[in-house]
Structures are given as C-alpha cells and as structure tokens.
C-alpha cells in the first residue's frame, strides 16, 4: 500500500468510527435521555410507566409525611396551584430539603399515578435553584426565590 493510500484509509476509518459514534449517540439520546416534567405536564401527558424521567416543582406545604419505617418520605410536588403529583422516596433527603422549597425528583411514574423517586436533587446552598425550574411562571419563581432564602438558619 502506498503511503498516500494508507493515510486515506486511516482517515476514512477514523471518520467512519467517529461519525458512527455520533449517529449512535444521537439515536441513543433520543431514546434514553430522561425527560423533565413539570407537575402540570406530567398530569396532562404522563410518561410511560417505568420510563426514567425527572419531575420538578415545589414541595407542597403540609404534604410531607414519613412512613412507619422512618425512611420513606411521601409528599406532593406542585406546579400551578391545581396540579400536584404524589411522590414517594426512600432515602435520606438531601440537605435543605424542606416543605415549600424547589425540588427535582429523578425516578419513574407508577401505574397508580405515584411518582417513585430514586434520587432527590435539592439546592446545595441558599442561592441554588434547579435550572429546570426556570420555566415556571414569574409568580412561582419569585415566590420560590423568596422562600429559598428565608428561614435556613
């Protein structure tokens, strides 16, 4: 094989592998990226049962309960006032997870309409607002900003 040819073959092979990786990645991303839902979206157009998704909103005041086992939390995530999704989470809630604060729950919807969270993402400091919540209405956002900076001492 001539030197020129070898270089060409190498370039072509590298291109095939990298373009292949790109195509594979795009295909997988369309299927496996977990989608983000606000409560009203989840109620209007629920994801498939068992599909990995994220649910983001506010922890409804007065809804936080602990089961008899002491480690299972139940609460509602609200978006607009009327929409609420019940959430179940077994584990230690993250720092600063309180009623009325913003939360993003990673998990899946069950057949009975309960969202089972594997993981809760809450803010790490008083300024942290989950980026996914930025789309909430102005009123909600300002309310959350207010509530997330008060009462943490």
């Amino acid at each position: 094989m001539k030197a020129k040819h070898q270089r060409l073959v190498l370039v072509v092979l590298a291109l095939i592998a990298i373009v292949g990786a790109g195509l594979l990645a795009t295909y997988a991303l369309r299927n496996q990226a977990s989608y983000f839902y606000l409560p009203e979206q989840m109620l209007a157009d629920p994801p498939q049962v068992g599909q990995a998704v994220r649910l983001g909103g506010m922890v409804e005041r007065g809804s936080l309960k602990t089961d008899a086992d002491g480690v299972t939390l139940r609460f509602n995530v609200t978006g607009n006032e009327s929409s609420r999704v019940p959430v179940r989470f077994s584990g230690i809630a993250p720092d600063l997870f309180v009623e009325g604060s913003g939360v993003v729950a990673e998990g899946r919807l069950e057949a009975d309409g309960t969202f089972v969270a594997d993981n809760l993402l809450a803010k790490h400091d008083e300024n942290y607002v989950p980026k996914e919540l930025e789309g909430m209405t102005q009123q909600q956002a300002s309310r959350m900003a207010e509530e997330t900076t008060v009462g943490l001492e």
């Binding site: 094989m1 030197a3 020129k4 070898q6 270089r7 190498l10 092979l13 590298a14 592998a17 990298i18 292949g20 990786a21 790109g22 594979l24 990645a25 795009t26 997988a28 991303l29 496996q32 990226a33 977990s34 989608y35 983000f36 990995a52 994220r54 602990t66 086992d69 002491g70 480690v71 077994s90 584990g91 230690i92 809630a93 720092d95 600063l96 990673e106 993981n119 993402l121 790490h124 400091d125 008083e126 989950p130 980026k131 996914e132 789309g135 943490l152 001492e153």
Partner: protein, 651 residues
Amino acid sequence: MIAEVGLAALWLAAALAALQMVAGFLAVRAGDETELAGLIRPAAVVQGVLVSISFVMLLWLFAVTDLSVKLVVANSHSMKPLVFKIAGAWGNHEGSMLLWVTVMALAGALIALVERRLPERTMQATLAAQGVVSLGFYAFLLFSSNPFERLPTPAAEGMGLNPLLQDLGLAFHPPTLYLGYVGLSVAFSFAVGALLTRQVTPDFARAMRPWVLGAWVFLTVGITAGSYWAYYELGWGGWWFWDPVENASLMPWLAATALLHSASVLASRDALRVWTIMLGVVAFSMSMVGTFLVRSGILTSVHAFAVDPERGSFILMLLTLYIGGALLLFSLRAGTVSEGERFAVASREGALVFNNVMLSAILAIVLLGTLYPLVTEAFDVRVSVGPPYFNPVGAIFTVPMLVVMAVGPLLRWRRDRLDRVRNEIAIIAALTLAAIVLFSLVAQVELLPLLGLALGLAVGVGSLLPLRGRKLTRVPIATWGMVVAHFGIAVALLGMASESAFSKERLAAVEIGQSTTVGPWTITLQGVEPVAGPNWTAIEGRMAASYAGGEPTIIDPQARNFWAPPQQTTESALVTRWNGQLYAVMGDRAPDGRWQLRLWWKPFVPLIWLGGLLVAFGGVLALVGRVLADLKRREVVRRMASRRAEQEKLA
C-alpha cells in the same frame, strides 16, 4: 499597596505577552533574522516572573484577609482557617483565572529557558501562539474580572467561602485540573507553532510530549481526587455521576490520552503527523469547552461554583477565536505537512491508531451527551442525560478499546504477525472467559459489571506481559511508566465493576442503642450529640461498626451546619478494609424520634481511586524516564561537540 503592585505586574505581564506575540509572528514571517526575534525568549521569561509576583500578591491579600479588596470580601472571612484563606485565592472565578495565566506564563518561561531541540523558528512560532492564548486571558482578567479591585470603603467582614469548598481535598482540586488544562494549552501552542512553520517532526513530538504527559498526570489526579471528593463529601455513596462538570474534566483527559499515544508514535516512529497536530488542537479545545461549561452555568451541575453567564460569553468568544483560528490554520496547512513513515495494520502503531480512534469516539459520545440538553432546550424541551445513556453507549467503544489495550503493547513497531503473540492472546482470552463464567455462576452480575470484571483481569494480566522474559532492572523507566499506567486502568476498572456488582445498601431508622446490618457489617447507634467546629455546628452520630462479628470500630458521621454562608453538608464516615469500604451517612430525625441511617458496604471500591493514582504514577514514571533520557542525550551531544572542538584545535 499590595493590590496595586499585583495589578501593575499583571499589566506589565500582559504587555510582554503582546510583545511576544508580535515579535514572534514577525520573526516567523521574516525568517529568524529580525532584531525583535532576540526579545522573544527574554519576554517569555520576564512575563513568567511578573505574573508570579501578581499571583503571590493575591495569595498575600487572602492570607491577611485584606477587607478593602472586593474579591477577598466576597470569598473569605477572617475566621477561616489559614489554609482555606489561601485556597480561597483560587476558589473563585478571578483567582482561578489568575492561577491559569500564572501557570501558563511559567510554562512559557520554562520552554524559553530549556527547550533547544526545536528549530528556532518553530520555537518562536510556539511562543507567539502562547502569547495569543495568554493575551486572551490577560484581557479577560484586566477588563472584566480584575482580582485586585478595591472597594470604595473596606468591609467590616468577609462573606465567607462556600462550605463545600472548605475541604482540603477540594481546595487543591481545581488547581490540579487547571495545571492539566494549562499543560494542554502549551501542547496547543506547540501544534500551532509547528503548523505555522510546517515542521511537524519527531523532534516536535519529543518537545511537546513532556507537556502532554504533565497535563495528563494532573488531569488524572484531578479527576481521581474529584471523584473521591464527590464520593465522601456529597454523601450519595456514588463515585461518578456523568455530571457536566465531571464530563468537562473527562473530555480533555480522553483527548490528552489519545494525544499522548499519538505523540509517542510520532516521536519514536515518525508516523501520525497530521493526526497528532489535530489532537493537540482538540485537546485544548476540550479544556476550553470544559472551562466554558463549568464557568458559564449554562448546564445544571452540583459541582459548578463561581458561575457567571456574562463571563461565560467571554470564554465562549475566546473559545471561538482560538479553536476557530486553529482549525482554520489546520485546514489550510494540514495538506502541506509531509508524509510520515508507513506501518502495517498488525503493529504497535496499528493498535495505537485503533485506540486513538476509539478514544475519539468515546469523546464524541461524552461531548454529545453533555451538550444535548443545551440543544433541546433551544427547542424548549428539557431533558437530562445520565448513566442510562453514557454507560451502554460508551461501553460499545470502551470494550474493544480495552481488548486492544491488553494486546497492543505486545506487538512490535512497524510490522508484526498476530500469531507471534498467540500464546499471550490465548492467556488473556482464557482469563477473560474464565472470569465471565466464574462471576456469572457465583453471583447475579449484570452485563456491564461482568464485562468490567473480566476485562479488568485481562487488561491487568496483559499490562504485565510486556515485562515477561525481560531483565526487570534493565527495563527503561518510560516502559515501566506504561506498564504501571495500564495496570492502573485495570485496577480502577476492577474497582468500578466490583462496586456496581456487589454493593449492599441499607436504609434504616433506628433508636439509640439499636443495631442494623449491611452486608457482613453490624452497626449499633450508640448516641447522637451536637458538636461544634471553627465555623460550623453539627449533629454527630456515634456508631459501633463490626465486621462479621469482630471487634467494633467507632465511627461518627455528621450533618454539619455552616453559618457563613448558611449551608448544610454531610460528613460521611468511612471504614476501609482490604476488601472494601463501609460508608455511613447520618440522616434526619424521623417524626417518631428514630434516626435515619444510610449505610453501604462497597467491596473493593478503593481500587477505583488507587487505580487512578497508579495511572497518574505511571505518567510520572514516563515523564521522568523521558526527561532523564533527554538529559543523557544532551550530555552525549555536548561531549561529542567538545571532543570535536579539541581535535580541531590539535589539527
């Protein structure tokens, strides 16, 4: 006064970088006969000195907590322990950018002082390219994020440092990664310099290689330390989350790994010229993309600190300028770089090319997965991309790469036959199969961890095979470096696979005096007490942990509260044994008065970070080996020259 000295030194350094750039480009255009050319090396050296002075001034301001300086007020507090005051100097945006240019200028000074192998013109072009890159960062500092800015009236007290950052590991984590990023920017300058003068030679690869090696070692240590920090500090019990900030450090590492191997081929066999240049550009692009992702706050991350969208756009502008410029230069010049040596598919070069391509494919997958949420957000669809995407898709390319990695080092350069190494291949294949059968019989192990365990064994054995039949004392240090680094990959892989295959978890609410179990461990909660530190208070759980009924160890995980700024952190408690780690986290108090505990038994999990450190140590060995070989060669050249001079004198 101190702040003003720092600022003045920074302006002067920037002026020298401009001089270095202009003089360098004029010299390259005119050949090396211009008068300005003599200024390039001294400019680089003095620039390094000046910017170091500037950085030391900033350290000083933080050490004494000068509350008339805005940056100190925003990121420090007089009550902080001294080591965190000093680390506070780079635990913020402005300071970390100053650290960046400081390291870059010092690297430039070092090149100017010691590098004599490259043709002088390529050297000048390299320093000119370096001037361009640093000038962008100087402009950034001086015009939009001046670290020495004074307040109109001094503050009474500082605002503190993010408590998550008040951790010794983390204080030194960002600078470690930065050293890696900066090393890659030096490699980038070499690549641009060589393109400008069209001299892509083995000498160029040898000059660039120590910088790539150094950058790669720092990136490896940084990623390993970052992973361990996330593991013990965030209290989630996980070691890798495919978080954008983690990916931001992984992507340059993947590119640097590929670059390291292709530069080796170029240095020792004079092949892969254009490909090496391309990787030099890509590797630095990835560190810029990483900086941009981390600093702009454009992606959600638990690790992103010092985030500011306005600065993000400045970095984006620099990114476009540098990468766009380099790619343009590359497309204009790549065709004119002359052909290197040829090699057969079945050869050391062939294996390295294969792994280079696989690494690039993995890089593409990580990059796409990291940027995908940005793209969909433009269409108002919010998605998050995590392990369900990265693990299987990445594995498609990682698995063949690991297979070739086990065999590649056994092959000869230039041309080889696979049947020459068939015994070795048989050993590796038999081991892999045996491991797959064994582990799938012993325990229910999922596909990916199973492959990880099998390939970990195969790569571990394969990495030692190049030593077979050689006298160990005569193996070159650089070869030891390769063996150790490859072995480290195997060790880390075994740790990862074992963690995901065999971890046990227990979540329980217990009363004081009660016990619970996880795996072979029994844990008894003995008490819960409030404790206080220099700038925090905490709830501390006192537990007795005993392994398989043995002597109990006392552990005390905490849930800490900081007050400046107000924030909570989890201090997990770890018990490390030779065969794994117990991980305990203190939770909240359940309404009925019981305490929540979260416990994990993670067999062989420390191997992940031990492996990472071994990989870095391999890099250090390779670097030492190269530098020593280089010095020896220089000595030989010097002696030959002096002998020739003597003979001429006699004649």
